[in-house]
Amino acid sequence: MAPLVLTLLRFAFLALVWLLVLIVIFALRRDLGVGQRTRTVPAGAGRRERQQAQAVNAAPPADPEGEPRQNARRLVVLEGPTAGTELPLAEAPLLLGRAQEATLVLDDDYSSGRHARLFPQGSRWFLEDLGSTNGTFLDDAQLSRAQPVDLGQRIRIGKTVMELRP
């Protein structure tokens, strides 16, 4: 093969390796944005940060059905040993607790193995204590029965504090 072609291909190779690096970084950028939102923030700053994040992330399209209340889409751990964890919510009940088979494993000495259940009903999420030792609290009131959880309400289990976010 002509030496010129080989030389060109040699530089093309170096360009291609860098191209791969750049393609990966380009494809990554959205994921890096997600990383920003999973950052641990104090409970008070949560709302402000969310608004900023929405403004930056070109705001999700408005609900076509014009629903007044926003639906919860993720469960965010604000305080406690697993702070910063974010769980996308699907249309299925979640088991919260220290047991390894729990949907969200709370590495919290003050939580029971199967501590509480978070489940969707209609358009709302409900929280139910599963007879835990130390109780489940919703905005500092202990749960005695299943109760609806609104966005931004603080769910406390042991030392872990969580909230639902859109």
Partner: protein, 500 residues
């Protein structure tokens, strides 16, 4: 994340007429992975083609076609396996690893062609790549959920110690290039230490995952640092002794550094205490002083490192010939490199394994080398991302540990080649020739992929609740209405019995 995702399947099958909770599930991104595989395989193909077209290759060398076809098919197989068993795994890990593996294969192929005596290291490297990917697929299929690995804490410790002792057993142990890190199994030489690094990561992750709070809460405070109790320092001491034993008996400085570094990183990540880093550094200093004073081969390595360009050291047997040849090669490569087949990487001893970084530096130049460093950086960052996303403490620790194994190993080798620190005999992950290393690193990647799958998977609940519980929830949902949602005492009681 995106509007292209299909709507979530309704759970449980309970008859609910009201509006469902709308969610946008995480996209699986296996097609993105497939797309990224094109430039990754392109890099591998062009590199191998340039080797085959170079002056050192015989006319009409078509082995590059075989190499790339095999790599492509293996990559496709991995992609399909991931579609089945780890749908939500990180889409960037596999293409990056395939690109690195392909670049390594091309360089080994080139060194085969340039060798005075014809060698076929590239063929066996390709074979081990296939074996490694097959192992990765088997692990994905057999384990599925990394949390299973948490159960065998002390089995992992025993297995690690066993693997590390194996090369010292007379009869099967072999000494190659002054290090006792090999065992002979029939016609093969295996490096059990490569696998021990993974089982040690399993042990550290499950041990620290369960003992973390104990280590965190107990202890005295001296100044701003909180020091742990002496008995909680036990595992630290054990890790230190293991590292020192590897250094003394196997004469393997690189592995010793890697094992101890791994433990320090994991305990720091588990506790977030600077005091552990301080204690660890004291231990390293103590171990380093001991090694410098009493161990000949460590003294020699440090001497060779500091006075590498001294002619007497350069010419001495076991001197700095290898490292200086590597420096010459990289200097010859300069910024754009000489191009495949144009340099003289065959003059570097172990140019296709320990010193492959220098060989690549000669033929690809600084531009190529920095791209390779970037690929490693991206790979490690994806591992850390999986750790951030993991929902259980064990998964977080394990993903961090495994990513740091790659980072530490890459750093220790390249720093040795570049004379930042003494050169130690470790392989460069995915680039160096070596079956054990390749196999172990593919296993490591499989576990990282598994953790990232579990981290990114939307919580459907289906896999985590027993059918009895699911039935109970369905019944509960049917009984209760939006206004009155009292949990029936019956269900509360029955579930309460299971709590700790």
């Amino acid at each position: 994340m995106t509007s292209m995702a299909p709507p979530a399947a309704p759970a449980g099958g309970s008859g609910r007429a009201s509006k469902p909770v709308k969610v946008k599930p995480q996209r699986a991104k296996r097609n993105l992975e497939l797309f990224l595989m094109i430039p990754a395989l392109g890099v591998a193909a062009l590199a191998d083609f340039l080797v085959s077209a170079s002056p050192v290759a015989p006319a009409n060398d078509t082995s590059w076609i075989t190499h790339i076809l095999v790599m492509g098919l293996l990559g496709l197989g991995m992609n399909i396996s991931l579609r089945i068993w780890a749908k939500y795994a990180d889409p960037f890990i596999l293409p990056i690893v395939i690109a690195l593996n392909g670049i390594g294969l091309a360089m080994i192929h080139r060194l085969d062609l340039g060798a005075a005596k014809a060698t076929t290291v590239a063929t066996s490297q390709l074979l081990y790549t296939g074996l490694g990917m097959a192992c990765a697929v088997i692990i994905l299929w057999a384990i599925r959920d990394h949390r299973i690995l948490r159960r065998f804490t002390y089995i992992w410790l025993a297995l690690s110690v066993f693997l590390l002792i194996l090369p010292l057993v007379p009869g099967i142990g072999r000494e190659i290039n002054g290090a006792n890190i090999w065992i002979k199994l029939g016609p093969f030489s295996v490096q059990p230490g490569e696998f021990a690094k993974i089982t040690l990561a399993f042990f550290f992750a499950s041990y620290l995952g369960s003992k973390r709070d104990l280590i965190l809460l107990a202890g005295k405070k001296i100044g701003r640092l909180q020091f742990p109790r002496l008995r909680d320092m036990g595992p630290m001491l054990v890790a230190w002794l293991v590292a020192l034993a590897v250094l003394v008996f196997q004469k393997d400085l690189g592995s010793a550094l890697m094992f101890f570094g791994l433990f320090m990183v994991m305990i720091y990540v588990a506790t977030g205490r600077i005091s552990w880093i301080a204690i660890g550094l004291v231990f390293v200093a103590a171990g380093g002083t001991f090694a410098m004073m009493f161990m000949g081969h460590v003294q020699r390595r440090v001497h060779v490192w500091l006075d590498a360009l001294d002619p007497t050291v350069y010419q001495a047997t076991g001197g700095s010939y290898q490292i200086v040849q590597g420096l010459f090669a990289m200097a010859n490569g300069g910024l754009p490199g000489t191009g495949f087949g144009e340099g003289k990487p065959n003059s570097i001893p172990l140019g296709n394994s320990d010193m492959i970084y220098a060989s690549l530096g000669e033929e690809l130049g600084l531009i190529g080398l920095s791209a390779i460093v970037m690929l490693f950086l991206l790979l490690i960052s994806r591992g850390i991302r999986a750790a951030l996303g993991a929902r259980d403490g064990f998964g977080k620790l394990l993903a961090t540990g495994l990513s740091f194994i790659l980072a530490l190993q890459f750093f220790i080798v390249t720093a040795g080649v570049l004379r930042v620190m003494p050169l130690t005999g470790l392989t460069t992950p995915f680039l160096s020739a070596g079956g054990s290393s390749l196999l172990a690193n593919w296993v490591l990647i499989a576990i990282l992929l598994m953790i990232s799958h579990n981290a990114r998977r939307p919580s459907t609940g289906g896999g985590t609740l027993s059918t009895q519980e699911q039935g109970m929830i369905d019944r509960h949902l049917k009984v209760s209405t939006d206004s009155a949602l009292d949990a029936t005492p019956d269900s509360t009681q029955r579930l309460g019995g299971e709590t700790s």
